[in-house]
């Protein structure tokens, strides 16, 4: 247990692990929040969410590096691009499956994973690209005990900021209330004269845009490369199931826990961090299948 001794004997080392966990967790939160939001309203588990993340990362490369338009613009572009893709997919495919069984929906999203994975190869080839850190954030800042990469610290701020925006939107606006109502009773909402399909499309767009933004924000340290999508999606599943599918706070807490387990796990038993993450998921599924903040499935 050399790792535990290092954590106890060296507070700076432990502090760095904590910051690693936080910045990783915040990046994953942005992606997982989109997945959870879509499930909460549309009741679709979107396997293609990881592929949307990958497209976001590639878009960041194209806009920031190939076109040289700067990093922050590329993040916005990634969000818009994924919202556009989501709009097309929702109009062309998803809306035919809202009333079908879950299996059909899952498999439909898997078909999108397959096709978009190839599309990414056509558009960007099979090279691994590097995206440089945004200007002024390539270095490290002094955080008391130690210096820490400034970009990752900024991520630790962007995460809670997005949480706040999403919370405000869902809890404090008319559209947020309508969205909540759509999860409760679609027919009733429709009979009150609300255009429910527009809400569905809107939620799908926002959720997918979050995957794109998450991918763009991850691109400086998680270089876009073919096949990254099928890994990230499983990690996002772990997060949203731990937190509770459909819960905003759940995905925030789930992402933090995942970051902590992954980073501290890799110190305590090197190389086995993935196994810990899946074990954690299993424990949650066994005790509270609907996750920490989720609600049990009705009927």
């Amino acid at each position: 247990m050399q790792g535990i001794e290092m954590l106890i004997g060296n507070p700076t080392f432990a502090f760095i692990q904590l910051l690693n966990s936080l910045s990783m967790g915040m990046n994953y939160f942005i992606i997982a929040a989109g997945l959870s939001l879509i499930f909460g309203v549309l009741r679709v588990i979107n396997f293609a969410h990881g592929t949307f993340f990958m497209f976001g990362a590639y878009t960041a490369y194209t806009v920031a590096e190939a076109w040289g338009l700067g990093f922050w613009l590329s993040v916005i572009a990634a969000g818009l691009f994924l919202a556009l893709i989501a709009l097309v997919l929702e109009r062309a495919l998803f809306r035919f499956l809202y009333d079908k069984e879950h299996l059909m929906q899952l498999l439909l999203t898997f078909a999108i994973v397959l096709i978009m994975g190839d599309l990414a190869k056509v558009l960007w080839g099979t090279d691994q690209y590097s995206v440089s850190y945004p200007e002024g954030l390539g270095g490290a800042w002094n955080v008391g005990l130690t210096h820490y990469p400034s970009y990752r610290l900024v991520l630790c701020l962007i995460g809670p900021l997005i949480l706040l925006v999403l919370w405000f939107f869902t809890e404090r606006t008319r559209w947020g209330r309508l969205t909540k109502a759509a999860t409760q009773d679609r027919e009733m909402l429709a009979s009150l004269g609300i255009n429910v399909p527009v809400i569905y499309t809107g939620v799908f767009l926002v959720g997918s845009a979050l995957a794109g933004v998450g991918g763009a924000l991850a691109s400086p340290f998680n270089s876009p490369v073919p096949g990254m999508d099928v890994f990230i999606i499983v990690e996002c599943f772990v997060i949203v199931i731990i937190g509770g599918l459909g819960s905003l706070w759940g995905s925030f807490l789930g992402a933090l826990i995942y970051g902590l387990v992954f980073n501290f796990g890799s110190v305590i038993v090197p190389n086995w961090q993935d196994v810990f993450a899946f074990l954690l998921l299993l424990i949650v599924l066994l005790i509270r299948p609907w996750g920490m903040f989720g609600r049990p499935e009705q009927g």
């Binding site: 588990i45 495919l93 035919f96 499956l97 879950h102 299996l103 059909m104 899952l106 498999l107 439909l108 898997f110 078909a111 999108i112 994973v113 397959l114 096709i115 994975g117 190839d118 599309l119 190869k121 099928v230 499983v234 599943f237 772990v238 199931i241 190389n271 086995w272 993935d274 196994v275 993450a277 899946f278 074990l279 998921l281 299993l282 599924l285 066994l286 299948p289 609907w290 499935e297």
Partner: protein, 316 residues
């Protein structure tokens, strides 16, 4: 109480097995290899259908039991130098034990949470195969499997595969058409009602899960020897999705449908790969067609065509 297959059905099955058995006489190595691989995936798909088609539980992690059977067989044969007669049965028992353990947890849940839990367990198996380098050789893959001398040439391996797959398929047929199989269908159609008439539905689902896992283990054990290796990809969730697509393509409400789905999908993959590297797009397109137009798969399509032929055009 088993409902025996009618005479015509038995004759058709015998004819098909004999036709497959005649493949080596064509003298094409390529054809023999292709047939061997297809047989492995036929068994894999048939095993999953016990769970999906008969008990109505969609597993998203069926590759786990395939991989456990494959890895265990490969490791026992190669690392420990066991003879096949010991290695393969133990490998199959290990798949069965893993399925028993996982099924105990998974059958507490239904629908989407059942699928997610099977996926989680399968990813755990994948992570272990990936990280336990000393035993599984991690992402390098476990290569150079010591195949017993009597199976070293492709013709004898083909007949070995044919014998095992035929026997397994016959056994699965008997299981699915026994009283147990009928009860499974009752559980699939209406779990609450089946429970009311005294069926222990959870135990039924558990048994179906174990049967499915065990036969997937047999398929995996053969695959490891045929392929002379096992790779972490064999346990990854995309492999589970692929076998699920085989079942759907064939038709999950028919016993032999998944076998046809496996053969068709495998052949399509082989031929597509000869012309283009975009097999995933092709697979995605096939999946979309099944979902939007062929919910009962090829078996359902065949049944529809047959009923059209019998009473052409309705009025005749």
């Amino acid at each position: 109480m088993t409902s025996p297959m009618n005479k015509a059905g038995q004759a058709a099955c015998l004819l098909i097995v004999l036709l497959i058995a005649a493949i080596p006489f064509a003298g094409e190595d390529y054809l023999i290899d292709l047939a061997t691989e297809i047989l492995v995936f036929v068994l894999f798909a048939l095993s999953l259908n016990v769970l999906i088609g008969y008990s109505g539980n969609v597993s998203f992690g069926h590759a786990a039991y395939f991989a456990i059977g494959g890895y265990a067989n490969a490791i026992l044969l190669t690392t420990y130098g066991w003879p096949l007669i010991a290695a393969m049965p133990i490998a199959i028992v290990l798949s069965m034990l893993a399925a028993m353990f996982v099924a105990w947890f998974c059958t507490r849940l239904t629908d989407i949470y059942f699928a997610m839990l099977t996926l989680a367990f399968a990813m755990l198996v994948w992570a272990i195969a990936f990280k336990w380098r000393d035993v599984t050789h991690g992402d390098d893959g476990f290569v150079g499997v010591a195949v017993p001398a009597f199976l070293d040439d492709r013709v004898s391996f083909f007949y070995f595969t044919l014998a095992v797959v035929t026997a397994s398929a016959a056994l699965l047929w008997l299981i699915c058409h026994s009283a147990f199989g009928k009860v499974l269908v009752a559980v699939r159609e209406n779990r609450t009602r089946a429970g009311f008439v005294g069926v222990n539905t959870r135990q039924m689902r558990w048994t179906a899960f174990v049967v499915a896992g065990t036969f997937a283990g047999i398929a995996g054990a053969i695959f490891a020897m045929y392929n002379r290796g096992m790779y972490v990809e064999n346990a990854f969730w995309t492999q589970s999705a692929q076998v699920l697509i085989m079942v759907l393509l064939g038709g999950m409400h028919s016993f032999f449908g998944p076998a046809i789905g496996a053969a068709v999908l495998y052949l399509l993959e082989r031929f597509t790969n000869e012309y283009t590297e975009y097999w995933p797009t092709m697979l995605g397109a096939i999946l979309l067609v099944i979902l939007l137009f062929l919910p009962e798969g090829l078996a359902g399509l065949a049944a529809k065509v047959r009923s059209k032929l019998v009473r052409p055009g309705g009025t005749g």
